[in-house]
Symmetry: C2
Subunit: 294 residues, 2 copies
């Protein structure tokens, strides 16, 4: 960006993470859209770069999207010995898809994004993401993620939920009904991963969802990563599998292509292992064995 | 707190982390003080609890202070086989001191806080911290930390710098001159630890300080933890020693009292190990061997 902050009008965007606190960003330019599903905005900022906002909540910023997207894609994909068929629910910004496609094992990646306008807006403002949607391995569906998993006959090695938070359209993506359907469409030797909110603001949600996950899958785990533009800047993720072990000290690396590790800015195999170490208060809340299967 | 947010006036406190972005908090009550050194404020908030603000920058909140203070105290203290004599530079809020005193090995803890009014304010608004300052093992000095380390004849097993950011009075605490003095007053078998800013906002500072640290100490390491109320919510720490190994897989636990681990809310020995795993971009920037001595 050529123009220094302060030389022009700043449009102050405010995200209330809770009633009395949140993050603000000064944008030099703002584009707003209204789809059939939500308000969409793109901000051009100095500190965060381009920012994608859905219904008033920051979804992606140039400054920190690499952490969120790398951790939501590479942790499940490196936990699987041969991830060929990947389903992404949500993820219309293309970030998780970009990271998934770095794995040459992947032969088919289905992106089920309910709102086609999100993809249109991303293509316009993040043109470098266009190639991601156009990859021949990719199929983009504009369907409701919950309805899709309830009705599809396809099976997947990895199912990733990259949704907005569990309000409005995304609420169904955190329900027992949804988890039961995911369990049906993921191979027993495959796994499911989802973003799962902040441990400091949404601990009751995380605990409740963890119990649901335990009811749906034999092996479950939580892991965390810093995501500065999300509430509290410290984000939680969850995984579930019927048969696959999540032990980060015994990743099935044999025969895997790991050239992508030269391209990642946050993720590494060491980060993968460390991410499963949960803070003491959560260990106590969940009576959870560190980073290993239950 | 009995009164719900929204039932009364909210005083909006805004911290600009950078020119165009930052955190806001709505306070129901605000107390302000002016010492010889700085503005001091205490906010009463719903989400963050009580908040200590120095010169407009959040220093401590009830919601997340445990992470910062546990990580700045227990990581160095558990790296040392027998930490008896501890010096804390800054730390007037008493949080690091509280955690240091959980170690029965500690026989003397010197707190060198330049501003006595910080301690007065903390005693008034965080009365539970009063006992910490009154512990018979503690000596509180109100001196400039840099001058103190330049002139003292005492030696320490662990020196911890819990300062505000390297502007104004705290700038000298990140200088080569200061590091040389710390090297002199810490036993060769001891170690030094400091807060060290955000990897996402202050990467150039971190890299520069890391080089200074390498010039002053044979063994150096960085580690991170989530601190939601600080800029980017992801904080960095640094350690240095002349002789002590920092390998988190070989902590000198023999004979150590670890009862305090039942009281920590963030820190655990597993968290200690994981905290030294640095993101790929920093590894590349520092050409740094993961979590082990150079």
């Amino acid at each position: 960006m050529d123009t220094p902050v302060g030389s022009g009008t700043l449009y102050w965007f405010i995200e209330r993470h809770r009633e009395d606190t949140g993050l603000f960003m000064g944008a030099r330019r703002v584009w707003t859209y209204r789809s059939n599903f939500q308000d969409i905005a793109v901000l051009e900022t100095e500190t965060w770069g381009r920012v994608l906002v859905l219904d008033g909540l920051v979804q992606m910023t140039d400054r920190d999207e690499f952490i969120y997207h790398e951790m939501l894609a590479h942790v499940p994909l490196m936990t699987h010995p041969d991830p060929r068929r990947v389903l992404i629910i949500g993820g219309g910004d293309g970030g998780v898809l970009r990271e998934v496609l770095r794995h040459p094992e992947v032969t088919r990646a289905v992106l089920c994004e309910i709102d086609p306008m999100v993809i249109e807006v991303v293509r316009r403002h993040w043109p470098e993401h266009g190639a991601v949607f156009d990859d021949p391995r990719v199929q983009v569906l504009n369907e409701d993620g919950n309805q899709f998993v309830q009705t599809t006959y396809e099976r997947y090695d990895v199912v990733i939920v990259d949704s907005s938070d569990p309000v409005s359209y995304s609420r169904s993506l955190f329900s027992p009904h949804f988890l039961a359907a995911v369990r049906r469409i993921v191979y027993p030797s495959g796994l499911y991963a989802t973003q799962c909110m902040s441990l400091l603001y949404h601990l009751d949600f995380v605990k409740g969802f963890y119990r649901q996950l335990q009811a749906a899958f034999s092996n479950v785990a939580l892991y965390t990563a810093p995501v500065p533009s999300y509430p509290t800047g410290w984000w939680n993720f969850a995984m579930g599998s019927i048969e696959l072990s999540f032990d980060p000290d015994r990743l099935p690396l044999k025969g895997r292509s790991i050239e992508f590790l030269r391209l990642t800015r946050y993720y590494s195999l060491e980060i993968h292992r460390s991410a499963f170490t949960l803070p003491n208060f959560l260990v106590q809340e969940l009576q959870y064995a560190h980073g290993t299967d239950r």
